[in-house]
């Protein structure tokens, strides 16, 4: 039974109750970590980092844009992997994680697109370019929205879970294809007027706050995912005894009139 014992942690992780109780203990620390890193990174990046010689202060939007783009992409893979774990091991919890990852990822993709547009106006003189990266981020947003829409389309939670997991997996195969195809499409038609790669390697004083912001965004993502998943656990397990007990314990005492 040694093999069985080795997998115990994995099966225990599949229990929504275990997840709820464990992450409950992490939450205060995660809040402190996220807020601390976020504040440090923002103040450092927005107030103390040196100005860019060409772009002036407008480059500072990088401190939001790049971390959000990172997490928007990583979040899709997290969502698809959670869906695959749900399909393969039939783990309830991983479907809840998958469902929670979709709105967060969609929001981060939107933030990445929006900050990119705002940044594009002063630097390139236009809000939108059909560049490979921008176009594939837009398609990523559509993929997230499709997973979200499919999740809510079915009456049965079970069917909605599995259907959106299948769609997320199909999308995973497509993301690299979409990225490469849009890349080639752009170079096929017109010469590159804007190069993302030609920016001079960042100065250390600019890069350090960016690094802090990226770590802060990862921490924020973890926090948001845990909070969403906890809410989803309570919603789906509301009929189970442990959630009822929890609700009774946390309900404020009724004041007699």
């Amino acid at each position: 039974m040694a093999a069985g014992r080795n997998w115990n942690w994995f099966h225990r992780m599949g229990s929504p109750r275990w997840f709820y109780e464990t992450t409950g203990r992490w939450l205060p620390w995660l809040w402190v970590l996220t807020l601390g890193l976020m504040l440090t990174g923002l103040i450092w990046g927005l107030a103390y980092a040196p100005q860019d010689t060409k772009q002036g202060n407008s480059f500072r939007i990088i401190y939001l844009h790049v971390p959000a783009s990172f997490l928007a992409l990583a979040g899709y893979y997290l969502m698809a992997i959670a869906g695959a774990i749900g399909l393969i091991w039939k783990m309830k919890l991983s479907y809840m994680v998958m469902k929670s990852a979709a709105p967060i990822g969609a929001a981060l993709t939107f933030i990445a697109l929006f900050t990119g547009a705002v940044w594009g106006k002063p630097t390139w003189g236009t809000y939108w370019v059909w560049d490979a990266r921008i176009t594939s981020m837009l398609i990523l947003l559509f993929l997230y929205l499709g997973v979200l829409a499919l999740q809510y389309a079915f009456h049965s939670q079970e069917t909605g879970n599995k259907a959106s997991a299948i769609l997320a997996l199909v999308g995973t195969v497509n993301i690299p294809i979409i990225y490469k195809s849009v890349d080639w499409w752009y170079t096929l038609h017109q010469p590159a007027t804007i190069k993302f790669t030609s920016a001079p390697s960042m100065h250390m004083d600019m890069f350090q706050p960016l690094l802090v912001m990226i770590i802060a965004m990862y921490s924020f993502y973890g926090l948001a995912l845990i909070l969403y998943t906890r809410a989803e656990i309570l919603r789906r397990e509301r009929k189970s005894s442990w959630v009822r007990e929890l609700a009774l314990r946390t309900q404020p005492a009724q004041v007699d009139q």
């Binding site: 069917t159 299948i166 769609l167």
Partner: protein, 226 residues
């Protein structure tokens, strides 16, 4: 193995026969393709130079929309009359009959679109160099679209208003196909090598033939369970 290839051929024949009996329904994507393409000169400009510039993209977008419209019904009637359940309880590999159905779907939508596209090309004054690449790219590309669309159709077959949702799910996945499809036509017109984009379309088609039936089989099993 014999039973499985029979499943493929049997479903191909059955769906072609069904399509033959519902000729009017089958013709509508084709009529849609021709009709909407005639809206473009009316809406934009009858000037042949401008039309020629837009023609590859227009024809591809219209072919994509026509395929999308017809995809919705791919599994719908089988789901309603219960023959989908018969398919699911059969002991065979589900992927092959599904592939037979998709091939039948392509033969009654993608192939006619391909054959009629030179006509639209002439109407939109597509340069003659683009005609053959357009037919080749449409033939490969609409097969990809049928396969990818079938994944969406299988996922949404049990929903009453699945059509709009289907397009939300499927259009993002269609994008690489349209990029390389219209790129093949455009590079032929520009005098460049158009076999490159066409080869990419062929690669996408072979990947889709290998992977999509698996996703479709999973989706059909899932949706019919509830």
């Amino acid at each position: 193995m014999i039973a499985e290839s029979q499943g493929f051929a049997g479903y191909l024949r059955r769906d072609l026969l069904l399509a033959y009996r519902r000729r009017g329904e089958v013709a509508s994507p084709l009529i849609f393709f021709v009709l909407v393409s005639t809206l473009i000169p009316l809406g934009i400009s009858p000037d042949s130079a401008r039309l020629a510039e837009l023609a590859p993209g227009i024809i591809w977008v219209m072919a994509l929309l026509a395929t999308l419209l017809s995809t919705e019904t791919l599994f719908a009637s089988d789901y309603q009359d219960g023959s989908l359940e018969q398919l699911l309880i059969s002991p065979q590999l589900l992927a092959l009959p599904v592939l037979g159905k998709i091939l039948a779907h392509w033969l009654v939508t993608g192939l006619p679109l391909t054959l009629v596209s030179p006509l639209i090309g002439l109407m939109l004054s597509l340069p003659a160099a683009g005609l053959l690449p357009m037919m080749a790219s449409l033939a490969l590309g609409t097969a990809c679209l049928s396969l990818i669309g079938a994944v969406g159709a299988a996922l949404t077959v049990s929903l009453r208003k699945g059509g709009l949702l289907l397009s939300v799910l499927v259009i993002p996945l269609y994008m690489p196909v349209i990029i390389f499809g219209s790129a093949a036509v455009q590079s032929a017109i520009d005098g460049l090598n158009w076999l490159g984009p066409l080869a990419v379309l062929g690669a996408m088609l072979s990947a889709a033939v290998a992977l999509c039936p698996l996703a479709i089989a999973g989706a059909l099993r899932l949706v019919s369970n509830n």
